[in-house]
């Protein structure tokens, strides 16, 4: 069967897109990696695990309930590794249905086909390297939110929270609420930056109030808050014991650190959609029209994966993408779009937060020469700069010179810092370096699980070359 609409990613944008498309009468399938839909902000606890519902949980539950009632085919716990169809056809052929190869939660391979595809792939975290960032005990802010939100697990007993953006305050507040202590909060943004963001934040008073509440909690717990500051080193013998911030040293058994979010564009790159580099959106993003269409027919993107605007803006963008897809597929929609104003407000707030999380060139410039940038392949800053001097001009060429980005993270961890370093070394804008070519597998896949049962005789070996 060919679905009308497939939605890749079940965060706020994906949940809303799938529910909206199903509500409009389309046959819809939603593919999500986690055991339950929700995404990062609206993450659900695992089945059977009780947690006190917070505000995010309530909003997430509402989206989940609407999705469950929509009639969409929801496939969670599945890993999509192969992408095909759409424009990925031989020369002269018409576009094909989109085709997604995946492993189900129990490891069984399956393929889904659809006439339209909505990408709601979210983001991955940017971490600008610093000495000691690969020590056990140092984790991403996003990783900390998974621990805290899904199962109420503290990342440590005494935690330094550092980086940029609202996630900092959310994580610190949750650690306190969970009974942990926060040794310090290190915010790269200055008070001036927060002040300038205030007008945009006031477009969503609810979010502003939430932020104020987080800050009040920190104040009450007498957590030292350093602004306009950054971690200079994580130190410890085999595991983290101290976090250094210029001349100050904090004792800590965990450091949760993140410098913003980077849209996950693996799928849109693989489908060869046009992309543009916009630092204020998080980096490379697919070029979209005002109705969420990418440059590839019947391929849409919504949510943070299309440019960081936050969870509050994502559902409306997802719904818009779904309505556009249905319109393009020839469905007649009985209802008009009703939430453009809300989407605009949420996007304004999200944009202000995204600006706060934009890559900070000064932070990249401060990375010491021998600090590892690509932790999969052990490539240091000085090796990247040596490659630049020896003629590596693009991101793809940097891979050839240094293996930077060729490990299991597929360039997700190092790509941003490596790009900024290469651009600085060459004296060009990061946009000139291009981006890594999108190719399957979307995620590293265990060979055993994709192989399935097969007979040697059934492998469709092509005809051999002439002797």
């Amino acid at each position: 069967m060919i679905f009308d609409v497939a939605v890749l990613g079940g965060g706020p944008a994906g949940m809303a897109a799938a529910a909206e498309a199903a509500r409009g009468g389309a046959r819809v399938v939603l593919l999500e990696e986690s055991p339950a839909p929700g995404g990062q902000v609206y993450r659900a606890p695992p089945a059977g695990f009780e947690m006190k519902p917070d505000r995010d949980r309530q909003e997430g539950d509402a989206l989940r309930a609407a999705l469950a009632a929509s009639g969409a085919d929801i496939r969670t716990g599945c890993r999509v590794w192969g992408l095909g169809g759409g424009p990925l056809v031989p020369e002269g052929q018409f576009d094909a249905p989109f085709s997604l190869s995946a492993l189900s939660a129990d490891g069984a391979p399956f393929t889904v086909q659809s006439r339209a595809l909505i990408l709601c792939c979210g983001t991955h975290e940017r971490i600008i390297p610093f000495p000691g960032w690969t020590l056990p005990g140092v984790i991403g802010l996003a990783a900390a939110t998974i621990l805290l939100k899904a199962q109420g697990i503290l990342p440590g007993q005494r935690v330094v929270v550092a980086g940029a953006g609202p996630l900092l305050y959310a994580v610190a507040a949750k650690i306190l609420a969970g009974g942990g202590s926060v040794a310090a909060l290190i915010d790269a943004a200055t008070p001036g930056e927060w002040l300038r963001a205030l007008p945009a934040l006031s477009a969503r008073p609810d979010l502003l109030a939430q932020g104020m509440a987080w800050r009040a909690k920190l104040l009450a717990a007498r957590v030292p808050v350093l602004t306009g500051a950054q971690v200079t080193a994580a130190e410890g013998n085999k595991v983290l014991s101290h976090v250094r911030v210029a001349h100050r040293v904090f004792e800590a058994d965990a450091l949760c650190i993140g410098h913003g979010l980077v849209p996950a564009t693996e799928a849109s790159r693989t489908y060869r959609a046009r992309h543009v580099h916009r630092p204020e959106d998080g980096g490379w993003v697919p070029v979209l029209d005002t109705a969420q269409r990418t440059s590839v027919p019947f391929l849409y993107a919504a949510g943070d994966g299309a440019g960081v605007r936050g969870a509050a803006a994502a559902p409306a963008a997802g719904r818009l993408a779904a309505r556009t897809a249905l319109h393009d597929l020839g469905f007649s929609l009985a209802y008009a779009s009703e939430e453009d104003a809300a989407l605009k407000r949420a996007r304004r707030t999200g944009a202000a937060m995204a600006r706060m999380m934009t890559l900070r060139p000064a932070m990249v410039a401060a990375i010491p020469a021998e600090t590892i940038i690509c932790r999969c392949e052990g490539v240091t800053r000085s090796e990247i700069e040596k490659a630049a001097a020896a003629g590596a001009n693009t991101i793809n060429q940097l891979k050839h010179f240094t293996r930077c980005g060729m490990g299991p993270c597929q360039g997700r961890m190092c790509g941003e810092a490596a790009g900024a370093l290469l651009a600085a070394a060459r004296g060009v804008d990061v946009a000139e370096l291009g981006f890594a070519t999108g190719r399957i597998p979307l995620r590293p896949v265990p060979m055993a699980s994709i192989l399935g049962d097969f007979d040697y005789a059934d492998i469709p070996v092509p005809a051999p070359a002439p002797i």
Partner: protein
């Protein structure tokens, strides 16, 4: 910008680089142009196999000499290195049909000079303990090996500079006027001689000179695993040639063999076909069972050129003095540096060590009415 060179080489893949290098060492002022970056197409993304058992019989003498060049690359390439590693090669047959194919192909290649002996499955497992049971027959060639193809551009760059070659990357050539004025994105470049070395784009380049040379485009898929403990120590293939398998020093296993992806001359590599990705890794896991423990981390595409008779296009371009062509060499990476060396010999006015592959045969439709 207006420059005058003794020779302009268009296309900075392994053959263009080698040709340019040896021309410059022969005393010529050489410019090497590429629309992208040096060795970033087929020459930088191929499987790096330096094997005789996938090489066409007619090319074995060339491949043997090229193998020696790869293994000694730093010595002739100003220290440039692709980490070429010599090891035994095995081509295995799991079925009677494959065994028959292997016997025939090994014999033809042996007659062409490749020291291939046929051994049974047990003997093959002694050479390659990672090999699966059930091998009926194996071709064993002690001269085999592999390189890290992605290092090729980096390896050639220093030597080209040292030899005085002017390297113009990201400089597309749009056409050639007269004898020879290259219309490039960086202005006109004048040269006494021109060498077309554009891989699958040779067809378009030949058209600049009014020559119709059909070149077929193969879109080869490659797959690589994460680093893993040693699972194999040879270059492994199957009799059909549709598997090439090797483990690098860093632990990654490269899986190739020429399974086809989607792409074309105009768009380049467009997409890896999931079903061919799966077929390729199944063949690999069947041959080396320990690969089942691997995680696949990346796949990519490389474009290979093929003439009508699948033999190389290397030599003068008929009817146009001082215009030369090099490319469309099956398993071209293996033989590449040697092909560049002998073409440079011919251009410099010396007799090439081994015969070239003139393209006259490809330009005229012969009637086969027997």
């Amino acid at each position: 910008m207006n420059m005058r060179f003794d020779a302009a080489v268009i296309g900075a893949g392994v053959m263009g680089c080698a040709t340019a290098l040896f021309l410059a060492r022969g005393g010529m002022r050489v410019v090497l142009l590429d629309r992208g970056e040096i060795c970033r197409e087929a020459s930088g993304v191929n499987a790096g196999t330096l094997t005789m058992q996938m090489t066409r019989a007619a090319l074995i003498p060339y491949a043997l000499r090229a193998h020696e060049m790869w293994m000694n690359m730093p010595a002739w390439c100003a220290g440039g290195d692709v980490l070429a590693t010599a090891c035994p090669g095995l081509s295995v047959a799991f079925t009677d049909a494959e065994a028959a194919m292997l016997e025939e192909r090994a014999r033809i290649r042996r007659e062409a000079g490749a020291p291939i002996e046929l051994i049974d499955g047990r003997a093959a497992q002694a050479i390659e303990p990672g090999l699966a049971d059930g091998v009926k027959l194996a071709g064993h060639c002690p001269i085999d090996g592999f390189a890290s193809a992605y290092l090729t551009g980096r390896a050639f760059r220093a030597a080209l500079q040292e030899a005085g070659v002017t390297l113009m990357e990201a400089t597309p050539v749009r056409g050639i006027d007269g004898r020879f004025m290259l219309d490039t994105s960086a202005g006109a470049v004048a040269a006494q001689r021109v060498v077309l070395a554009g891989g699958v784009w040779l067809q378009d380049m030949a058209a600049w000179l009014g020559v119709t040379l059909p070149i077929k485009v193969l879109i080869n898929q490659l797959v690589v695993t994460e680093r893993m403990p040693p699972v194999m120590r040879t270059v492994l293939g199957v009799a059909s040639g549709l598997l090439s398998l090797k483990q690098y020093a860093n632990g990654t296993v490269l899986i190739g063999g020429g399974w086809q992806g989607i792409g074309d001359r105009a768009r380049g590599g467009v997409a890896v076909r999931s079903e061919n990705f799966l077929g390729n890794v199944r063949l690999a896991a069947h041959t080396v069972p320990a690969l089942r423990q691997a995680r696949v981390v990346r796949s990519w595409l490389g474009l290979e050129a093929e003439t009508a008779d699948a033999l190389p296009a290397i030599g003068p371009i008929p009817g146009i003095d001082d215009a030369w062509i090099i490319g469309s060499v099956h398993s071209g990476y293996t033989s590449g540096p040697y092909m560049g060396r002998i073409l440079a010999q011919a251009i410099l006015g010396d007799a090439p060590e081994l015969p070239l592959f003139p393209i006259d045969r490809l330009l005229h439709q012969r009637s086969n009415s027997a």
